[in-house]
């Protein structure tokens, strides 16, 4: 019974190909270059094959390509499971499907799959602009569905009108009409409290602060302008120089890399912090980074819910942050921590790798011998940085003895070099020291009253332990480039004479910083809408906690209401467009029939005039004949007069 699926016209194929491309393009941000090239090649080949050669790809070639694709994905990612390889694989299959798209059935398969690929693009980027931009592929997709239904070569009536715009416009109208229903479904669809499954392999290539530091780690962050987190302060915000956002604390050094050591929390940690001055209270909205670290102003007084505070006053969470996370913290800006240092802590904070950087060790030991006091040694090191070193974001490469190379030959670098070298020197001089990583500074958005901290604000500094004062923050980078601390990394690099690319120039940054307000709104309203906030949705209506049953009822209720609206609108009988003259004539006929002169459909006004007894009625009928038949376009005042006459005429009681 079912006939073979009709073949596609060239126009329809073009639409289908456009849909597939529009679905793949949003993935280009995370696809590796070789795969991007391969997919483009496949799409171009499919286009060429369809539009030029009209040949069919041999089944063997298709089979080979389908077999090669997973292999390529494995080469690129290591496996085919997980978010990134999965998406890459899906994009590849979609591109390959174009090679064998000949009938409407194939086209519909492409569209189905394109929808999925499009949705999966949002697993990588949930930004406002990105999400808005996805409306374009949706429009192309809906327009393609239309094209598959209508005349294969576009408008049947007008073959000249081959423009795809009418279809796109109609698709936009469909989308607009669908918006209320979509929003209602979005708001009321019950969210899951816990995911049904987790993707294996959490590595998504998202940037974020890691808990190791080797030359270049932070450099990758410094060129990344995406937001790391946003902070809303309860009261006044602390001065820019105090905005040290504490992250992982690194204590172990093997000559090349600094690592975190998971130290046990020995005493109740509250006791080890003594605060003086104000306590800052604030809320942080942390962008997902697939790392467990939470960031707080130096030094957090307690861990937020779901996280704990390490012995080094870092905040860590059990699970990595895979979605936008909001937490409240209190921090003390003026503080004293770890007034007493245990033997274990001291040993760890003094450990140096064997047989590395002999000249640096000798230098530090010389200072200790000549200068004596801890403070004097520190001053000597900072003075060395201040006098001879340069701040740059593109430092020369370092060899095996990285600290020696940095201190004695290259003498230029950025925060991680200075922090590492300073800690090394202090340890060599017998002062317990450690590297603290995190962010420094941030952009204050006055319109939204919040502080935006970008990945490029990543920073590393040092802490030294001094008897009686505990751990003291020393930022050696400040000794080299005070602008870094006051103005940020970009400004520091600019001050050092480096030319910034245009997209980091001041005015672009300013614009971006202002626009971040919109992003923040999007994040808090849409991205952050979770089961908890959904449950609280109905509080204003007196329902304290909307469980899934309430939500489902609401979803069905509002959805039905909207659909009913649509149904009524579709089924309505449109008002007949009758002109005033005809309407008045009909009224006259109705009145006449009340007097006993029934108007049958085959009768005209002349017949009625012959039968009508009333003089006024006859005059009105004569007027009608004059207006209707004597002129093509009767004057409007005459028509109005006739209408008035009909209204005024009172038919005599029928005999």
């Amino acid at each position: 019974m079912r006939t073979k699926s009709p073949p596609l016209s060239d126009r329809q194929f073009a639409f289908v190909a456009a849909t597939a491309v529009a679905a793949i393009v949003p993935h280009l941000g995370h696809l590796p270059v070789p795969l991007t090239l391969l997919f483009s090649l496949i799409v171009v080949a499919a286009w060429f094959q369809r539009m030029r050669t009209h040949r069919v790809t041999p089944a063997l070639v298709k089979l080979a390509l389908v077999a090669v694709l997973p292999a390529l994905v494995v080469v690129q990612y290591g496996n085919v499971f997980g978010r990134e390889p999965g998406a890459a694989f899906a994009c590849g299959m979609l591109a390959l499907k174009l090679l064998e798209t000949a009938t409407r059935r194939d086209a519909r398969a492409v569209i189905c799959f394109s929808s999925f690929v499009l949705m999966s693009a949002l697993l990588f980027d949930t930004g406002l602009l990105f999400t808005l931009a996805l409306v374009v592929p949706i429009l192309v997709l809906l327009a393609t569905l239309r094209e598959l239904e209508t005349h294969p070569d576009g408008s049947a009536a007008d073959h000249a009108a081959r423009s795809p715009l009418p279809s796109l416009r109609e698709a936009a109208v469909s989308l607009l009409i669908a918006t209320p229903l979509a929003l209602c479904a979005f708001v009321f669809f019950p969210r899951l409290d816990a995911p049904l499954w987790r993707t294996p392999g959490g590595d998504t290539g998202r940037t974020g602060m890691s808990d190791t530091m080797s030359p270049g780690t932070i450099q990758n962050l410094l060129v990344d302008d995406s937001p790391a987190f946003r902070v809303a302060f309860d009261g006044a915000r602390p001065p820019a120089g105090k905005l040290y956002w504490r992250g992982p604390v690194l204590t172990d050094f093997d000559g090349g890399t600094w690592r975190r050591r998971d130290m046990p929390v020995l005493a109740p940690s509250e006791a080890s912090v003594q605060t003086s001055g104000t306590i800052v209270r604030y809320e942080v909205a942390l962008e997902p980074n697939d790392k467990p670290w939470l960031f707080a102003l130096d030094v957090p007084l307690a861990a937020p819910e779901g996280a704990r505070r390490t012995a080094e006053f870092g905040l860590i969470r059990r699970a990595p942050v895979t979605e936008l996370l909001r937490y409240r913290v209190e921090s003390a800006i003026d503080y004293r921590i770890d007034a007493q240092l245990s033997a274990y802590q001291r040993r760890v904070a003094l450990a140096l790798p064997k047989d590395f950087d002999p000249r640096s060790v000798a230098l530090a030991q010389g200072w200790r011998r000549d200068l004596g006091a801890d403070e004097a040694v520190m001053r000597a090191a900072l003075a060395l940085f201040h006098d001879k070193f340069f701040y740059t974001l593109s430092p020369p490469a370092l060899g095996r003895d990285s600290i020696d190379d940095f201190l004695f030959s290259t003498q230029r670098g950025f925060c991680e070099h200075y922090a590492a070298a300073f800690v090394f020197l202090m340890r060599a001089a017998g002062i317990p020291a450690r590297v603290v990583t995190g962010y420094q500074g941030g952009y204050y958005n006055s319109a939204g009253d919040y502080l935006l901290v970008r990945q490029s604000d990543a920073h590393a500094w040092s802490e030294v332990w001094l008897a009686g004062r505990g751990w003291v923050r020393i930022d050696p980078t400040a000794a080299v480039s005070p602008q870094r601390i006051e103005l940020g990394a970009g400004a520091a690099a600019a001050a050092a004479g480096a030319s910034l690319p245009w997209y980091q120039s001041d005015w672009v940054r300013g614009l971006r910083n202002q626009f971040d307000l919109v992003n923040r709104g999007w994040n808090s309203v849409i991205v952050q809408f979770n089961s908890l906030r959904q449950q609280n949705l109905l509080v204003p209506l007196g329902i304290p906690r909307a469980d899934y049953r309430t939500l489902t009822a609401l979803l069905i209720g509002t959805g039905t209401l909207l659909l009913l609206f649509g149904a009524l609108w579709v089924m309505r009988t449109p008002r007949r467009r009758v002109d005033a003259l005809d309407a008045a004539y009909e009224r006259l006929c109705a009145k006449l029939s009340r007097t006993g002169v029934a108007c049958s459909p085959q009768e005209g006004p002349l017949d009625l005039a012959r039968r009508a007894g009333d003089r006024v009625a006859r005059a009105l009928l004569a007027d009608y004949i004059g207006l209707r038949y004597a002129s093509a376009l009767p004057a409007s005042e005459d028509v109005a007069g006739f209408v008035r006459g009909v209204r005024r005429w009172r038919p005599p009681a029928s005999a």
Binding site: M119, R146, F189, L192, V570, P574
Partner: protein, 333 residues
């Protein structure tokens, strides 16, 4: 006891008849015009619609699982847009009216061309499809695809095999659309009160026409029939092949070549003259003769067992004769 369910069933059918005319009155013919309305328009998801819903559910689960609200928003948007296409589909059929039907008579065994005139009721409608149920059953005939603009109706031509002479009903007409996205199949049945006339099939190699009166030379008739006499104004009953196109173009009106029509040249196409073969074959032969006589412009009369058509010529006369042949009672020998 056994009649209770039967009674209930008939009550149910009566209810269905009242509420769902198209389901139960499918077999009943209706007078024109037939206007589609919500009680006779039906909607089911297509296979693609089901597949796409499955895909939407997968997308929904994915978005919910990752608690990815933008992805959920996208899924909701696409889902709502596709779901609401049901309304566009319904609107495409709602208040569509079949105003008139026309069919040019054909001969049995030929294709009957039926023209249906649809009225758009001042609403532009796109991607409508239509097929006669009978032609669909005979062979997978392609459906006619047509659009309607808001201000005018459209005429859709469709074809139907005419197997036998006589009145041919065209059966039910299925009108449907999967507009706009191919996800919902919206359809209705039309069963117009309409029949087309099918003439008997003309015999392929029919014997020559019977002799006219005493003169018996077909050649003589042809010669005399070919004698050009004059030009005169076109009348609607004139066969088109007689139009003098060049002369018409010169005079700005249609002119017809008038041939010399010798008096007394009149033949009788008699049922009795075709004895010896079965009755349908006799009708075939007479049909062939009528056509040939008409082509050679000979006046002819038709004599059938039940009726006699006086001598004449021209398309009116031919149609009258063919009609009598088409509607001749079957049994008579």
């Amino acid at each position: 006891m056994r009649s209770a369910p039967a009674a209930r069933w008939s009550r149910f059918l009566a209810l269905a008849e009242r509420r769902l005319p198209a389901l139960t009155r499918m077999k009943r013919v209706e007078p024109l015009p037939i206007v589609l309305h919500r009680r006779r328009i039906y909607v089911v998801p297509t296979r693609f619609g089901l597949a796409y819903s499955a895909m939407l559910i997968v997308m929904l689960l994915g978005a919910l699982n990752y608690n990815n609200n933008p992805a959920l928003l996208l899924t909701c948007l696409v889902g709502a847009a596709t779901y609401q296409s049901i309304f566009s589909g319904f609107r495409t059929l709602n208040r569509l009216a079949l105003r008139s039907l026309k069919a040019r008579p054909c001969h049995a065994g030929d294709v009957l061309r039926v023209s249906l005139h649809f009225d758009s009721a001042s609403l532009a409608r796109r991607a409508l499809r239509m097929r006669l149920e009978m032609s669909a059953q005979a062979a997978g005939a392609p459906a006619a695809l047509f659009d309607l603009s808001a201000d005018e109706g459209t005429t859709v031509d469709t074809e139907l095999r005419a197997p036998a002479r006589g009145w041919q009903t065209i059966g039910r007409i299925r009108v449907w659309t999967e507009f706009p996205f191919g996800l919902f199949h919206v359809w209705s049945w039309l069963h117009p009160d309409f029949r087309a006339l099918v003439y008997p099939r003309p015999e392929a190699n029919a014997p020559p026409l019977p002799a006219a009166g005493s003169e018996s030379s077909a050649a003589a008739m042809r010669r005399s029939g070919d004698e050009f006499a004059m030009l005169r104004d076109y009348q609607t009953t004139d066969p088109r092949r007689l139009i003098a196109w060049k002369a018409s173009a010169r005079h700005d009106r249609l002119l017809v070549k008038e041939f010399e029509r010798p008096q007394g040249q009149e033949i009788v196409l008699d049922w009795r003259a075709t004895a010896g073969i079965d009755s349908e074959a006799r009708l075939s032969r007479l049909t062939a003769w009528v056509l040939r006589a008409e082509a050679t412009r000979v006046q002819y009369a038709l004599v059938l067992p039940h009726v006699r058509v006086a001598a004449g010529i021209g398309s009116d006369h031919a149609q009258r004769c063919l009609r009598e042949l088409a509607l001749a009672p079957q049994a008579g020998t």
